[in-house]
């Protein structure tokens, strides 16, 4: 069963009562909320995702709730609860779905230490993955959104999961978080992309989520071998420029962008060394998305 199989009233009731157990890649999330915004966001963005049995194991138990008291009515806010505990400061109620997304990211980055977790987008073609690490503002989500609308598979927009056992990238396809100007840029670039409502005035500016391509969701059980490490940087006036990057510098970038590199000690160092050793590494300056996709397509040709 997938989320789209649930009639909207059934979806809303599950979210309100026992919780919706939805699988995203290797993890099962039990999501609860009484908020219509959350139900609407899940119906829009998670339609293709598998629904797990109601009594099955869930890795994360999360709830988006409205606080008691005056904040329920005056400038209403919402909380993200993890295992019944408030995990973050509250946010305005219109950010409820975005808060769910950020909270689910946190669940993975703070808990899934069976993987080396890198703050990176990851896309795949022909079984080979490109990792796009970068801090906020580097343009990785915009580039990722463009690529997955032109034939690349979405492995993750935000969290690249590197599996110690296989060395492969484990897919965690979830909605792509677009911010500020990139929302309109992707609307123009990919008219068919499904983009949810824009939420203004978040800590990241204006935010809207783009639905993951259905094929990426359906193939979430298929890992891919890391083949390229590409550090994107949006730079106006540049079409698309791919420049070789030394592997040692690529290593340091991935280590800096990893959430749990220090957790794994020497094992993390050796593993990351093996991953980087098997990749071609680049810096990538871009402004034009068509040119950027073309550069990636050339990169992936045998």
């Amino acid at each position: 069963m997938i989320v789209a199989d649930l009639a909207r009233p059934v979806l809303a009731r599950r979210l309100r009562d026992e919780g919706l157990r939805v699988r995203t890649g290797p993890v099962v999330n039990r999501i609860q909320s009484r908020l219509p915004r959350v139900a609407q966001g899940i119906a829009l963005h998670y339609a293709e995702y598998p629904v797990e049995e109601a009594d099955g194991f869930a890795d994360f138990h999360v709830n988006i709730v409205t606080p008691r008291g005056v904040r329920r009515w005056a400038r209403p806010q919402v909380h993200f609860q993890f295992d019944g505990m408030r995990a973050f400061l509250p946010l305005p109620a219109d950010q409820a779905f975005a808060m769910l997304e950020w909270g689910l990211n946190w669940c993975v980055s703070a808990n899934c230490h069976q993987y080396l977790i890198v703050h990176a987008a990851a896309v795949e073609r022909s079984g080979l993955a490109a990792l796009l690490p970068g801090p906020p503002g580097s343009g990785k989500s915009t580039l990722c959104a463009a690529l997955v609308n032109r034939g690349w598979r979405l492995l993750s927009d935000e969290l690249a999961l590197l599996d110690f056992a296989s060395g492969f990238v484990v897919p965690l396809p979830r909605p792509v978080s677009l911010k500020n100007e990139s929302i309109a840029v992707i609307r123009r670039f990919a008219a068919d992309a499904v983009i949810g409502p824009i939420v203004q005035d978040t800590v990241k500016g204006s935010v809207a989520h783009m639905r993951a391509p259905p094929d990426s969701v359906q193939r979430a059980g298929q890992p891919a071998r890391a083949r390229w490490i590409v550090l994107p940087r949006y730079e106006s006036g540049v079409g698309a420029r791919l420049s070789p990057l030394g592997k040692a510098r690529a290593f340091m970038c991935l280590a800096d962008q990893a959430f749990n590199y220090d957790v794994h000690g020497r094992r993390g160092f050796e593993f990351l060394g093996d991953v980087v050793g098997g990749c071609d590494c680049f810096e990538f300056d871009y402004a034009d998305l068509d040119a950027a996709v073309g550069a990636f397509d050339r990169l992936s040709r045998p």
């Binding site: 030394g246 040692a248 510098r249 340091m252 280590a255 590199y261 220090d262 020497r266 160092f269 060394g273």
Partner: protein, 101 residues
């Protein structure tokens, strides 16, 4: 205590790295990454620093700056002053220590 840390510019000093088994290395082209098991930190090293650390780690005993400089490949173009800079940085990072000569 004043004077407890030797002046790295002193030619009388001899240097040693943390034990080799406390270092993990990767080397690609002219750049290195090294992990220091004694504090868990990872560093990016350029060609001179990488080679200096390699020499220290595999030396039978502490080495003076002049010995390190002489042992480097001349094509690296490293001066004694630049090697001293590297050693000073190594000490700050906990990779090496200076011993009185």
């Amino acid at each position: 205590m004043a004077g407890a840390i030797p002046d790295p510019s002193s030619s009388a000093l001899r240097w040693r790295s943390v034990p080799p088994d406390a270092l993990a290395w990767r080397h690609w082209g002219e750049e290195w990454v090294v992990r220091n098991e004694r504090n868990g930190n990872t560093h990016l090293l350029g060609p001179v620093a990488g080679r200096v650390l390699e020499l220290l780690a595999h030396a039978p005993g502490p080495l003076a700056t002049a010995e390190l400089t002489a042992a480097l490949d001349p094509t690296l173009g490293a001066s004694a002053a630049s090697v001293e800079d590297v050693l000073t940085e190594f000490r700050r990072l906990g990779i090496a220590e200076a011993l009185p000569g």
